[in-house]
């Protein structure tokens, strides 16, 4: 059993609870009138205008984080993640419910809070440290570590305004992760620095994950880091806990929610256009690709889908189906324009299937077009209708054995060395 698998096995639930939120709700008063003046306040008061409207950001949120956990919080923009983080960090106070924290919590809502361009790097580290509640002696003890991690040894006596933006961020991030707190709260701060620095951060996170005394709460949009580091994750949507538990499941749910939101937006756009959806017209009023299989598949699955169309004009016509890779871009596969010749006119539904074992993880979209032979070019075709937006069908491949980076899986294609005496292949 490897080191990392050992970590997976630790049952954090038996550890003491270091952070607990019970029935937390929060609403904000959004000013409808500008009320930062005595006059306006007086006018509002005499007229009985409240001058604000209430917006409920978090509704009855409860969860617990145990010592040593790497806890991920995901959710779409505007879902209440950042508000929750500020509540945890005690910058905001909940309207109802309570949040209890045991131990020293070090929040990083933003990197480099209180950094002053007129101070030197060294002075900024001490200032930042003292704002986070570390005494001069405590910062002194962490100082060398911080500077070494930021790789800024020669620049510490330079003023911060002479730093490049990358250097500033590196310094801020190093303070953040080297700060010796019990609970570290990080808000989307992972994507900083060049590749070498990223690798260092990666190593650091892997290490801190193993440390049973340190608890990390991470808010992010990056599902890869959730899966990689988190021992548990929680998804927030519309101010409520949508899912909590295993990071795999939660990140799948998050991906699905994003797809759904996209589809919703497309449907709305179509309604705005009125009449025919984008890509369709009176000749071909209906063309739709519909998923039959679940939208989250593994590599072993065969993806089944239907194409529904309405075409009444006499003469030959074809369906062409293209597979688009949403994340990597490009067209992964195409049936060819003159291959799938349809036998029946009118309103029809055709069933298709496609094996998925060739691909690594990814988000894909099937786009179908209905084509007729081109009168001018005997080899070519003209598209009559295209199933775009809402009429296209999106699905996701998620498989533990798969990788993220390349399109084709290493089980579908391998590069083999010709001479075994030169190369030794490590088992994947």
């Amino acid at each position: 059993m490897s080191d990392e698998e050992m970590i997976e096995k630790i049952d954090y639930m038996k550890n003491p609870v270091v952070l607990s939120a019970t029935h937390v709700s929060k609403c904000f008063k959004l000013p409808t009138e500008q009320a930062t003046g005595l006059k306006q306040a007086f006018i509002n008061w005499t007229k009985g205008i409240k001058g604000y409207k209430k917006q409920e950001v978090l509704k009855d949120i409860s969860f617990e984080v145990h010592q040593g956990e790497f806890f991920g919080i995901v959710g779409r923009n505007g879902g209440g993640k950042s508000t929750l983080l500020k509540l945890i960090s005690q910058i905001y106070y909940p309207e109802n419910g309570s949040i209890a924290v045991t131990g020293k919590l070090v929040p990083f809502i933003e990197l480099g809070v209180g950094f002053n361009p007129e101070l030197t790097g060294r002075e900024n580290v001490y200032l930042n440290g003292s704002l986070l509640g570390f005494t001069h002696e405590e910062v002194e003890a962490m100082y060398d570590d911080i500077v070494e991690f930021a790789e800024l040894e020669e620049f510490m006596d330079q003023k911060l305004k002479n730093y490049s933006s990358g250097m500033q961020v590196r310094l801020a991030f190093s303070v953040a992760i080297k700060a010796q707190g019990d609970i570290l709260v990080l808000d989307e701060v992972l994507a900083v620095g060049d590749e070498a620095f990223q690798r260092k951060c990666d190593a650091f996170f892997t290490e801190i994950k193993k440390d049973p005394s340190k608890t990390v709460i991470l808010v992010t949009h990056d599902m890869n880091s959730v899966k990689k580091y988190c021992s548990r994750a929680m998804m927030i949507a519309d101010g409520e806990v949508e899912a909590i538990g295993d990071p795999e499941t939660v990140s799948q749910q998050y991906t699905l929610a994003n797809l759904e939101a996209e589809e919703k937006a497309e449907r709305k756009r179509q309604e705005e256009r009125g009449g025919y959806p984008n890509g369709l017209n009176e000749r071909c009023p209906l063309l739709k690709t519909i998923a039959v299989s679940p939208k989250v598949c593994s590599s072993a699955d065969t993806f089944k889908f239907d194409v529904e169309y309405q075409y009444d004009e006499p003469g030959d016509f074809y369906l062409a189906i293209a597979l688009h890779d949403i994340r990597r871009g490009g067209i992964t596969y195409d049936t060819g324009a003159k291959v799938l010749k349809m036998k029946r006119h009118g309103h029809q539904t055709v069933h298709f299937e496609m094996p998925l074992n060739l691909f690594n993880n990814g988000e894909f979209r099937l786009i179908t077009s209905l084509r007729t032979p081109s009168p001018s070019d005997p080899k070519g075709t003209d598209a009559v209708g295209v199933a775009l937006d809402d009429n296209a069908c999106s699905f996701v491949i998620r498989d533990n054995r798969n990788r993220e980076y390349a399109l084709l899986s290493d089980r579908a294609l391998t590069i083999e060395p010709l001479d075994d005496s030169q190369v030794e292949k490590e088992p994947a």
């Binding site: 005595l38 500020k86 960090s89 002053n116 101070l119």
Partner: protein, 278 residues
């Protein structure tokens, strides 16, 4: 006893650390980029004193004729400067440090206190300058000098109280900054700082009685006490030698305590919402 010490350390340790950090930074940045640097903190009051002395002492002849008058004038002005500096910086401090308050949790009152402490440091430097002037002018110090710290504590308390109150209001109503700008002029001229109180009281009559009432203002009372105890016990009237009624004598002190309580109470009640309101 030990338990008490650890309790205090747990409760205020963080606040103390943050306060140190903020005050140090402010002080470092104050004369950032100037050639004379920290020397300005002594030079500036010196130059201001010279201007004031020439204008009020020589041209306008507001002097009460005593040899200690210039030093008394300097002392009064630097005391009032402490009040204006800490209120004017302090009342904006919560909003100015908004980015901090919105991103980390720390006791909000620290930003206000750090502004007043910064002004207090300048005041201390000014006092040293005044002391040098006093030595040059051969002022006879008396045992009353030991009362000086008490007077300064009172001046600090009333200033902090006012600053806390206005800082709270400033978050909601920016108007308060302008109101205070005008009001502080009124307070300044309603106090015997650039004119000696004896200048008015010597005229006798109703005016003299009214002028004596200026001492009910805690600022006037403390600044007169500071002058009386530090430099000139013989020439400086205070509330203690102008009134015999203890109700009147204690009024400024009671007012200070009440205002401080009110300031702390209102600030604490509203400080939870500062991060959201700003």
């Amino acid at each position: 006893m030990k338990q008490l010490v650890t309790n205090i350390r747990d409760r205020y340790g963080y606040a103390w650390t943050v306060l140190q950090g903020l005050v140090k930074t402010d002080f470092k940045l104050r004369y950032q980029g100037s050639f004379l640097g920290i020397a300005w903190s002594v030079l500036k009051p010196l130059m201001m004193f010279c201007v004031m002395y020439v204008v009020f002492g020589k041209f306008l002849r507001m002097s009460d004729g005593t040899p200690t008058y210039p030093v008394v004038l300097l002392l009064g002005i630097s005391s009032w400067q402490f009040v204006t500096e800490s209120t004017n910086i302090g009342l904006r401090s919560v909003v100015d440090r908004g980015d901090l308050l919105r991103k980390i949790h720390f006791p909000n009152y620290i930003v206000v206190v750090s502004a007043t402490i910064g002004a207090l440091i300048s005041f201390a430097i000014n006092l040293v300058v005044v002391l040098i002037f006093a030595l040059v002018a051969r002022v006879q110090f008396t045992w009353r000098v030991v009362l000086l710290p008490l007077n300064i504590v009172e001046l600090y308390a009333i200033t902090l109280a006012l600053t806390l109150l206005m800082a709270t209001m400033y978050v909601y109503f920016r108007d308060i900054a302008h109101i205070w700008e005008v009001l502080q002029q009124l307070v300044f001229y309603g106090m015997p700082i650039i004119y000696p109180l004896t200048y008015v009281t010597n005229r006798g009559g109703v005016l003299a009685d009214l002028a004596r009432l200026e001492l009910l203002n805690p600022f006037a009372q403390t600044i007169q006490d500071i002058r009386h105890n530090f430099i000139a016990p013989e020439t400086q009237p205070t509330i203690w030698n102008q009134f015999s009624n203890w109700g009147i004598r204690l009024f400024p002190l009671v007012f200070t305590v009440v205002l401080l309580w009110l300031g702390v109470y209102l600030f604490r009640r509203n400080s939870r919402k500062f991060a959201e309101v700003m």
